[in-house]
Amino acid sequence: MNTQNVESSGSHPDTGRWLIKGADLLGEKRVDILVVDGVIAAIDAEITDAEVTTVDAAGQIALPGLVDIHTHLREPGREDAETVETGTRAAAKGGYTAVFAMANSNPVADTAGVVEQVWGLGRDSGWTQVQPVGAVTVGLEGKQLSEIGAMAESRAQVRVFSDDGKCVHDPLLMRRALEYVKTFDGVVAQHSQEPRLTEGAQMNEGAVSADLGLTGWPAVAEESIIARDVLLAQHVGSRVHICHLSTKGSVELVRGAKERGIDVTAEATPHHLLLTDELVRTFDPVYKVNPPLRTDDDVQALRAAVADGTIDVVGTDHAPHPTEDKECEWTCAAMGMTGLETALSVVQHTLVDTGAVTWRDVARIMSATPARIGRLEGQGRPLEVGEPANIVLFDPAAETLVDPENHESKGRNSPYRGLTLPGAVRATFFAGHPVVLGGTLMRPHPAAGGR
């Protein structure tokens, strides 16, 4: 019985021979890339081969397949919002060859059974690799550790543990979780939100919340948890990952922790790199998200932190919601935004086009480092001969008018609706198979469903 993921199981005789012509490798040099049976067989200035299907990639940046450290696929439990099938289609469309599926499903992914179910659904879909995240505590309730060991040893091989959506706020429980996951070289990904300081919180606390009379979500509620958790990680010699860091103060805390040698990694979302709380003045719940949109000062600090490496990864926090959960008054609307299909464009717009990072950096922050944090083998690998053929081809000169109605995700809650963003994903090769070609979703990987 094959107990490995299709993507990490080496070559696939049935994915064929593909020749990517004239791609711009990491935005640095023009190359041809030969993909044979799931593996990069050759990279050269000029490759000629008659027995191939040729993909013209002139002007397109070749990056390793993207890895999203933070995705909500909603299945099981909220199939009205998203399914593994629709979420992974969205991922493929956005250039992702792997996504970490957060544990806040229903039932919560707090047992080996649930994580294996999600893992299996991902393998059946064949659009992208689905790597489940396990809950830190039973039912995300912050009271009792979940079956961390069983999830780690399951077929899903869980390495990232998170109560995302909720904060592991009990300091003792957080300490124990940080210690325990060391058994499996795991990591705790913390949703940093002090619960008492954010009771009823609706938006960033500051000038705009004062005007609008919406209950504030203060930066200190995020920063106090980060400060505590980096100290705990240092104390017990474990590693901690900070989900969706959103404030300037958080950047300074993580920067200081890294200077002191603490094993902390941090993530920023595309929306926190672009949007600010000024948008809340519209009272349109599409801008309601947790943590909330912050100020322009925070946005600029986050961009600088990605540029200098303080923030390690960009994770989407893709959070689809059915229309009725957003088509209402601000305070009763659900929190979250879709992001898989727009992330790379937002990163180009906010980081590449501004000169903050290079395309090589993009490969690091959106592929290599997230795979390394999550200990996901066969993903986030360099584009080199012999490596798995997880490749995205991205045309940075294209423009995309964002229309959520055309998204593969079930969620229509994109905050970029109506915006023109730079760039477009032209092709996504997933384990040697083009799941996206010519900007269009093709067929799932032929090994899909091979349980």
């Binding site: 606390e205 004062a210 005007d211 009379g213 203060p218 008054e329």
Partner: protein
């Protein structure tokens, strides 16, 4: 003016036009026949998601004095936990051919959502949303302030702003839509606003507002303001650690008999305002509430006139 959602959006000219119109509407209230035919055949819906008999009655009598048909729709208690109901309710109202919707809602932004989400095409009039705005309250307060100054100076109110006036607003600024709407409107009209509250009841971000902020009520009263406005304090705030006890709140931030006596001793012309309903003995003493300085009842009657003016201007497209 298509909708009236906030005072922050009002220009000085728009505000003065509303106030001048309200003055004329108040004159109608003095006549033996208190009705104008201006809105005959038009339908005004009072959509109240939050209990407020006082505000609803004020809007209702305003609409009726303009001969409009009034539908009172109390959504309190219906299933509004899911927001879809605001959309559904709105569309139900449109099916009743509502020309204007007067909406009171417990959460900030609901009127703006109603006006801009494309669900309806009626005029939307914000009758108080969450902690955000309560524009007609601010307009009736401005009307009262204009009258207060005109009476002292023996002048007309028509066409005037509130230039040079100083208004002290005391109490739960953090949770108050009345404070916000007054701040924007009064400053637009040229007045100076001082907020007084315990720091726990002052929002983060207050430093961006066009208002002075002081924590000590006596300091503010010593500046000889034209009016002091006391905001209603919810007694349950005490339990969320905003202040230690009602007694301490009343002593530090209440308009006590002693503070009233100090105003009298100083010969101040300061008016005492309150949007109602009052917590006597908490933010305002009975002595202050019942003193000749109190404009509380004048505010109530001005409320009807201001709401007539707003409905009239919104529905007759006078602007």
């Amino acid at each position: 003016m298509r909708h009236l959602l906030s005072t922050r959006d009002l220009t000085r000219d728009q505000a003065i036009e509303i106030l001048d119109t309200a003055d004329r509407m108040a004159e109608v209230g003095q006549q033996s026949v208190k009705k104008l035919p201006a809105l005959r055949g038009r339908t005004v819906v009072n959509l109240f998601f939050e209990d407020s008999t006082r505000t609803r009655i004020s809007f209702e009598s305003a609409a009726k004095r303009l001969s409009a048909d009034v539908i009172n729709f109390s959504a309190k208690g219906s299933s509004v936990s899911k927001g879809e109901s605001l959309k559904d309710t709105a569309q139900t109202l449109m099916a009743m051919d509502a020309d204007a919707v007067v909406i009171r809602h417990g959460t900030s932004g609901a009127p703006q959502r109603l006006a801009t989400a494309g669900w309806i095409d009626a005029a939307v009039l914000n009758a108080g949303d969450g902690k955000h705005e309560h524009p007609t309250q601010a307009l009736l307060d401005a009307m009262t302030l204009r009258q207060h100054r005109a009476a002292l100076a023996g002048e007309e109110t028509t066409g005037t702003g509130l230039d040079g006036m100083h208004v002290v607003i005391v109490g739960d600024i953090l949770h108050s839509r009345v404070a916000r709407s007054n701040m924007w409107l009064l400053t637009t009209l040229g007045a100076r606003v001082t907020f007084v509250a315990p720091p726990t009841l002052m929002p983060v971000g207050v430093e961006h507002w066009p208002a002075d902020v002081v924590f000590d009520l006596d300091t503010a009263l010593a500046r000889d303001p034209d009016a002091v406005m006391l905001l209603r304090v919810q007694r349950e705030r005490m339990h969320a650690a905003f202040f230690p006890s009602e007694a301490e709140y009343a002593r530090l931030w209440g308009l006590t008999p002693e503070r009233l006596a100090a105003l009298d001793a100083a010969g101040a012309t300061t008016a005492i305002m309150h949007p109602g309903p009052m917590n006597r003995g908490l933010e305002i003493s009975s002595a202050a509430a019942d003193s000749p300085r109190s404009t509380v009842l004048r505010q109530v009657s001005n409320g009807v006139a201001v709401r007539m003016a707003c409905l009239y201007l919104l529905l007759t497209g006078a602007r």
